[in-house]
Symmetry: C2
């Protein structure tokens, strides 16, 4: 089961958090289109009417899950990119944390990454902006490292896309039985990215 306290420490009230967690499980099991607001409410131990107090529709629940997930991803990437050390040291932290997050939270990450097409147009625009900023932070860090002679990557946009892609795809294949553990996987992926960028 998805743990709402862990995923959304800042979402209030608890009932909204419980509904979001129930929706993550329902969307993961059946997909967005086959899930009803009643399914979500029932799984959260509430009535459909109680759901509407917090969310006007199941699309609004999906948006809350997607937006908070993308905000978390952007904050993680920007914090790592602004950390101590040279561009290589910061990229190493960025990749390790982003990979570990997608392994540990693979269930919610799948909704965040794979249900974009189900977002309403205005909601999609908000999420697309968060995604562009996340990708820009990675590109800027590669460009900074290349300018400083720390990286020798041939093509910054493709390398940024590849790095994020590598981390995100962990959500697709990672299960609680997967090896290695999320922390070790993050370290190893950071090593691979260092090699990919030609870090000295």
């Amino acid at each position: 089961m998805t743990d709402p306290q862990d995923l959304w420490p800042d979402v209030r009230p608890d009932a909204a958090k419980r509904l979001m967690a129930a929706a993550v499980d329902a969307f993961a099991d059946r997909g967005f289109h086959a899930t009803t607001t009643r399914d979500i409410a029932t799984a959260a131990g509430m009535s459909p009417a109680a759901l509407y107090v917090h969310f006007p529709s199941k699309a609004a629940v999906l948006f809350a899950i997607s937006r908070t997930g993308h905000e978390r991803a952007l904050a993680m990437v920007e914090t790592a990119a602004a950390g101590p050390g040279d561009a290589a040291a910061r990229m190493r932290v960025l990749v390790a944390r982003f990979t570990t997050w997608h392994a540990t939270r693979h269930r919610v990450a799948r909704i965040v990454q794979y249900e974009l097409h189900a977002l309403r147009p205005a909601d999609f625009d908000v999420v697309a902006d968060l995604r562009r900023r996340t990708e820009r932070a990675v590109r800027d860090l590669i460009a900074e490292g290349a300018a400083a002679g720390v990286f020798t990557a041939p093509d910054t946009p493709t390398a940024a896309r590849a790095i994020l892609s590598l981390c995100v795809d962990v959500a697709r294949w990672y299960t609680p039985e997967s090896k290695p553990d999320p922390g070790t996987l993050g370290e190893r992926y950071a090593e691979l990215v260092m090699a990919m960028l030609g870090a000295r």
Copy 2:
């Protein structure tokens, strides 16, 4: 629209191919669970009864799509791994082709890669075996290159997983509007993988 001639040149009769193509579009738009056999049959210009002549259920249609997709992926990887040149030359071809395939066929690749959980247990076993063989072919090629001093990758299973992951995730984010074109993306990803493996 998904082009059945391009994807399944060997599937007979044409009606089965048309149904598989209609199912790819329906699953991509609504997800497996929210799609009915009637949706698939109607989109293929057939009656539900005509669908059952070819497939006993929508799960059987999904299995046909998933199995043929995984067989194609395995054949592509094994052919590249057995090609001419040293391990680096063959890995370069493998990554370029596998990436380009996922960019060009992103719609069917999404079904193949993301709907595994909807397969029936016996069908899943068939597909899981194809996936293991695909991953083993990539691991063997890395190990061969490492033994020959062509690669200096630190950890063969993680590198194999990362390489396949990078190629597969293209299906998630690639659209007909994406840059660069599928062939160029394949070449650039091959370069990144060469760096990742420390190819000389």
